[in-house]
């Protein structure tokens, strides 16, 4: 492995990196200004002929400016490896110099978006465990260099560890396209729809903000109210809309799953999971066994019939960087029962855990949900009483109350837990069934919460704080809660294993 020599001097990324940075800058610029551009485009006919030259000139200047900027970013972005440290110099005017010791490097991941795929370079992301330093992303490296960089870092990390095990070339899990379709069709489409709505709402807000700024809010309001009154008048339209929504929901699930998990391949190597997936943005993630804090095995009724489930891995995250958290949640889909078992085995979850029956939460959990729901239903009905001209609105109750009762029933039924000597398993879900496996020694701190009402009923909530977020065990009897509280502390304090 003479490749380490390559990184001993400061070096730049691949020249193709200029293109990647350029595309990235343009994309960002477009993303922030697309609405303004749209408005300008609308008035295109009103612009006088002789002004066109200025516009074109302006665009050309901007494009050149971004190109120069991209070149400067490229030129000033230099990195090397020295004395077990990864050293990075960057910045055009504000120079910065970052140095990361190897033992703080959590992972080195490869990524390829569509441009990087076309010009055949890899983006290399260096994940660190520290909370103060930002994470490093090298936009373009040839595959050879990327691999060499990774080796340079990981090999010296491994010196202290064991010798590498023989790599098995047969993938542990490979999802082909038909199987992926099966997965996507059985997704929770409600969830997909909600995600889609979230995206649409942000778009809508962007639009209203802009119209607000231009003093044209009334135009938009009129437009919307015209359309909504038309909507109210036609029942057929509503039914049509519902069908449309269903189709959109299913389609968005399919698109989301296919884009994210296309050609999902998982290998098990040296106590780590190597995951490759993605259509437009290919991602390579290496999950080290000891970096995983807890995992969740999820399924839903239809997936259960097909015998597949998906597994969500949570890695340690640094405290303040909220945005990065999503990156650290890694999901693999379409796992068969034996693959789930293999993963449990890899993470040293003893097989006996499945033999132990789950324990229910206290029934108070159900009552609490009903009581809390009153906070919603009572004001809603008061609103109906005073706000509506006729009493037809009350029929809404006939739909939402039974739905709510069913939802609460499943919510309570699936809120279960069990503990073995080393692991706590927490079940949750409404439509889906999630089972979260948390080894006790991964707990950072533990909290026991009790409201005055819970105290009277002799129940309490337990909150486990881990390096990748909180896990809650609501409404279990105080004796059990105390028992688990003490036991967790005992387990953590007597554990010699590192949580990371």
């Amino acid at each position: 492995m003479g490749n380490t020599a390559d990184f001993s001097q400061f070096r730049k990324q691949s020249k193709k990196g200029i293109l990647v940075i350029y595309a990235n800058l343009l994309y960002k610029a477009l993303k922030t200004s697309w609405l303004v551009l749209l408005l300008v485009a609308q008035r295109f006919s009103k612009i006088q002929e002789n002004h066109f030259t200025y516009i074109y000139l302006g665009i050309a200047v901007l494009l050149v400016f971004f190109l120069i900027r991209a070149f400067l970013i490229y030129k000033n972005f230099q990195f090397k490896i020295a004395k077990e440290h990864f050293v990075l110099k960057q910045g055009i005017l504000k120079k910065s110099n970052t140095s990361i010791p190897f033992d703080r490097i959590q992972n080195i991941n490869f990524k390829q978006n569509i441009i990087q795929q076309i010009i055949n370079v890899h983006e290399v992301n260096v994940e660190t465990a520290g909370s103060t330093k930002a994470e490093i992303s090298i936009k373009a490296l040839s595959f050879k260099d990327a691999k060499a960089l990774k080796n340079a870092v990981t090999i010296s990390q491994k010196k202290e560890n064991k010798v590498e095990e023989i790599i098995s070339e047969k993938p542990f899990l490979k999802i082909n396209f038909p199987a992926l379709l099966k997965v996507s069709l059985t997704e929770n489409h409600f969830h997909s729809l909600l995600l889609l709505f979230a995206v649409l709402i942000t778009f809508f807000q962007q639009i209203t903000d802009l119209f607000d700024g231009l003093g044209k809010k009334e135009v938009l309001d009129n437009y919307i109210s015209e359309n909504t009154s038309a909507l109210q008048s036609s029942v057929i339209l509503i039914v049509g809309l519902l069908i449309l929504l269903t189709v959109i929901a299913v389609l968005s699930s399919v698109v989301r799953v296919v884009f994210k998990h296309f050609n999902l391949t998982v290998y098990i190597k040296n106590n780590a999971l190597e995951i490759y997936q993605g259509l437009t943005t290919k991602k390579t993630v290496i999950l080290k066994k000891n970096k995983i804090q807890h995992i969740t095995i999820s399924t839903n009724p239809i997936k259960k019939i097909l015998g597949i489930s998906f597994i969500t891995f949570k890695q340690a995250i640094s405290g303040k960087v909220k945005k990065k958290q999503l990156d650290k949640i890694i999901r693999i889909v379409g796992c068969k029962a034996n693959q789930v078992n293999q993963i449990k085995e890899l993470l040293d979850f003893s097989a006996q855990i499945d033999a132990i029956p789950f324990q229910k939460s206290n029934i108070y959990l159900k009552y609490r949900n009903y009581i809390r729901s009153l906070l919603f239903f009572v004001p809603l009905n008061i609103l109906f009483y005073f706000g509506m001209e006729d009493y037809n609105a009350f029929w809404v109750n006939a739909i939402i109350i039974p739905v709510y009762i069913i939802v609460t029933h499943f919510f309570y039924k699936k809120r279960v837990f069990k503990c073995t000597e080393d692991i706590m398993v927490i079940g949750s879900g409404i439509l889906e069934t999630h089972q979260t496996y948390l080894p006790f020694y991964k707990v950072q701190n533990i909290k026991l919460k009790q409201t005055i009402f819970q105290e009277r009923k002799g129940v309490a909530d337990l909150v486990f704080q881990t390096a990748s977020g909180k896990l809650k065990l609501p409404c279990i009897s105080i004796e059990k809660a105390m028992h688990i509280y003490n036991y967790t502390l005992f387990k953590v304090e007597s554990s010699t294993k590192s949580w990371m």
């Binding site: 340690a316 995250i317 405290g319 303040k320 029956p357 324990q359 069990k418 503990c419 000597e421 707990v443 950072q444 701190n445 533990i446 909290k447 026991l448 919460k449 009790q450 409201t451 005055i452 105290e455 909150v463 704080q465 881990t466 390096a467 990748s468 977020g469 909180k470 004796e479 059990k480 105390m482 028992h483 688990i484 509280y485 003490n486 036991y487 502390l489 005992f490 953590v492 304090e493 554990s495 949580w499 990371m500």
Partner: protein, 170 residues
């Protein structure tokens, strides 16, 4: 199925219910009450400004209800904080530190020393006057939910910090 951990009954692990919690410094009640009073004064002043300059005449009678409402609300805060103050307790054991508080919403938090990332001591202006400090113990992950003991004597805080520091290094 209450006996979840049959194997471990032989090992006597420390029971959180059996340890003696220590109350925080009584002087800290003054700090709390001062803080509430400042909020109270701010609220009343802004209400006074709003009612004198912006309210129309026909709504004048309404303002007394507002004053009464705010006074009752803050009276409630005074009572709750004064009673709840007695419940603020902490305990430092061989291997962990715990803090509990609350009357309406009780909670107990424990942090094992071998999970502590760093410890901070800070003092607000009032606390400095009463020679008090608050001790924050941070662990990995989301730091908002870590343990914070407010209102202990500064020298106690330093002592605890040193104690935990030696435990971490050792």
């Amino acid at each position: 199925m209450t006996n979840l951990f049959d194997n471990n009954i032989v090992i006597t692990f420390p029971d959180i219910t059996k340890i003696d919690f220590v109350s925080i410094s009584k002087k800290y009640l003054n700090v709390i009450l001062l803080n509430i009073t400042i909020y109270f004064v701010i609220f009343i002043c802004s209400l006074f400004i709003v009612t004198t300059y912006y309210l129309q005449d026909e709504m004048m009678g309404f303002k007394y209800y507002l004053y009464a409402g705010i006074t009752i609300l803050f009276g409630f805060f005074y009572v709750v904080y004064a009673i709840g103050f007695k419940k603020r307790k902490y305990a430092v054991r061989e291997k962990d530190v715990s803090y509990k508080s609350g009357i309406l919403f009780k909670q107990t938090t424990s942090v094992p020393f071998n999970r502590v990332q760093h410890i901070e001591i800070d003092q607000g202006p009032f606390s400095r006057f009463f020679k008090l400090a608050s001790l924050s113990v941070y662990t990995a992950g989301d730091s908002s939910d870590d343990l914070k003991i407010k209102g202990i004597l500064k020298e106690d805080a330093i002592k605890i910090k040193e104690f935990i520091s030696t435990k971490i290094d050792g």
